[in-house]
Amino acid sequence: MLDVAIQKGRIGEDVYAILEKAGYGCADILSPSRKLVFEDEEHGVRYFWVRPSDVAIYVERGAADVGIAGSDVLAESRPNVYELLDLGVGKCRICVAAKSGFADPGGVLRVATKFTQIAKAYYAKRSREIDVIHLYGSIELAPLLGLSDVIVDLVETGNTLRENGLEVVETISDVSARLIANKISYKFKHAELTKLVSAVSERLGDA
């Protein structure tokens, strides 16, 4: 039996569709209910719906053998796990954005973001001193109110930025959903895990 942590929401559902096609379907999983655990003995799989940012924690601590997490979350929390596949869904970018026509004043740059580690690493590489402002949501508001000079945030279509008079200044990295595995599970459930990885990667080839 493989325990799979999967993120709630649209990306999680897209990922489940791939897993189902790969032979890891689970009855009732998409039915509207408040259940969090869904088991399918026939396919040897048990799914947990968890918050996107929690997937890596469940996997790193071995509560789940495998999980599907965004590469943004992985880059931010750097869990000690194996990263086995790029599923190519949930695609977006982590970008630096600012008010349209923003001119960098130089000196210490004020950066508002949920991704403090990514922001620090990005600016450290460029030897730029920053003042990180950690926010949990509505990041776009920060430059509008003068709270920050720029933001570091996920950008999918860019519509939210445009509607708020912001624009992308630089792209830090591309983001997509990744299949991760607990390092110890990988060893003790090696045959099951290898089978899952190859079945899923064949499905990705189809898409």
């Binding site: 990263e83 110890i184 003790f188």
Partner: protein, 310 residues
């Protein structure tokens, strides 16, 4: 003096089981003070796990540290050995930031060090003892083994910068083949080089299962030498401990500064983190002015608290 079994904690029982095993294999107990001069650690930072050391000033003004590690103290205390080997075991607490919470804690460790004239035989025997240690603790365990020099020599053959090598090693450690291919494209590796590194990253299995693939990867003399050592050590270990489950896994070889050859890690089914780790560390002895070989491992007995015995 009779000690009734029920007053011993699980951790104490684990420690005593290991001490009995090490004693029966001819290792001598090594005991040490809780404190060391800070200088010992500050001069050997790359040997220690990340995360800092607890220090304090003694009444005479010396800066002391709560021991974050046992091996450095044993090496410091080892005199020049003329041809012989020193076999010691320890059962001590170390003070380090670690585990999944990354906070300081006192952690009991029980392990062995073998210092002196260390060859393939001694290496194989220590790997077998690691497997026997997991068995002595009643665990269904796996020993994963790797050779730092094999991966390093593969990457050396690419002729890329140290930063690129380190980025590739990070991807190998995460078995991240898509990530590795991305970096390979950025630094313009050939298809053959990229496939070689990707094969190394995803390789996992017994020596019997992986030997052919490993031999096909050999591209230079250093890789050939490292592979010969790896194969011989595993064969000796498998003979010495017939029940041992030993798997080749190059996602272990990250700590290239410190380990200089065979490295290994022990895992137990049902525990999310490794419970044992060790390897050859001749480089550390050389740096401390003792040109001889050394190998050892440590069991993190506190990690076993959550193990559910059947």
């Amino acid at each position: 003096m009779q000690i009734p079994d029920e007053i011993l904690t699980q951790t104490e029982k684990h420690a005593f089981a290991l001490r009995s095993l090490f004693h029966s294999r001819g290792f001598e107990r090594y005991e040490m003070s809780r404190f060391e001069e800070y200088e010992l650690y500050s001069g050997n930072r790359d040997f220690l796990p990340d995360g800092g050391i607890i220090t304090f000033t003694d009444s005479d003004g010396r800066l002391l540290a709560l021991r974050p590690d046992v091996t450095l103290s044993i090496v410091k205390d080892t005199r020049q050995l003329a041809g012989g080997v020193r076999r010691v075991y320890y059962h001590e607490n170390v003070y380090r930031r670690g585990g999944l919470s990354h906070e300081f804690s006192e952690r009991p460790q029980c392990g062995v060090e073998l210092i002196g004239s260390v060859g393939t035989h001694e290496t194989g025997d220590i790997v077998a003892l690691a497997a026997d240690s997991l068995a002595a603790l009643g665990l269904r365990g796996i020993i994963d083994i790797s050779h730092v020099g094999f991966a390093a020599a593969l990457l050396d053959g690419f002729g890329v910068t140290d930063a690129a090598k380190s980025a590739l090693l990070t991807q190998i450690a995460a078995k991240n083949v898509p990530g590795l291919r991305g970096i390979a494209a950025e630094i313009a590796l050939t298809d053959g080089q990229t496939d070689g590194a990707a094969t190394l990253a995803s390789l996992y299995g017994t020596l019997g299962e992986t030997r052919g693939v490993l031999q096909s990867l050999v591209a230079n003399e250093a890789m050939d030498g490292a592979l010969g050592e790896l194969i011989a050590s595993v064969e000796i270990a498998e003979r010495a401990s017939p029940g041992a489950d030993i798997r080749v896994d190059f996602s272990l070889s990250q700590d290239v500064n410190y380990y200089s050859g065979i490295v290994f890690q022990g895992a137990a089914e049902g525990l999310p983190v490794p419970v044992l780790s060790g390897g050859r560390y001749d480089g550390l002895l050389r740096r401390m002015g003792k040109p001889c070989g050394a190998i050892g491992f440590s069991v993190y007995i506190d990690e076993l608290r959550r193990y559910e015995y059947a």
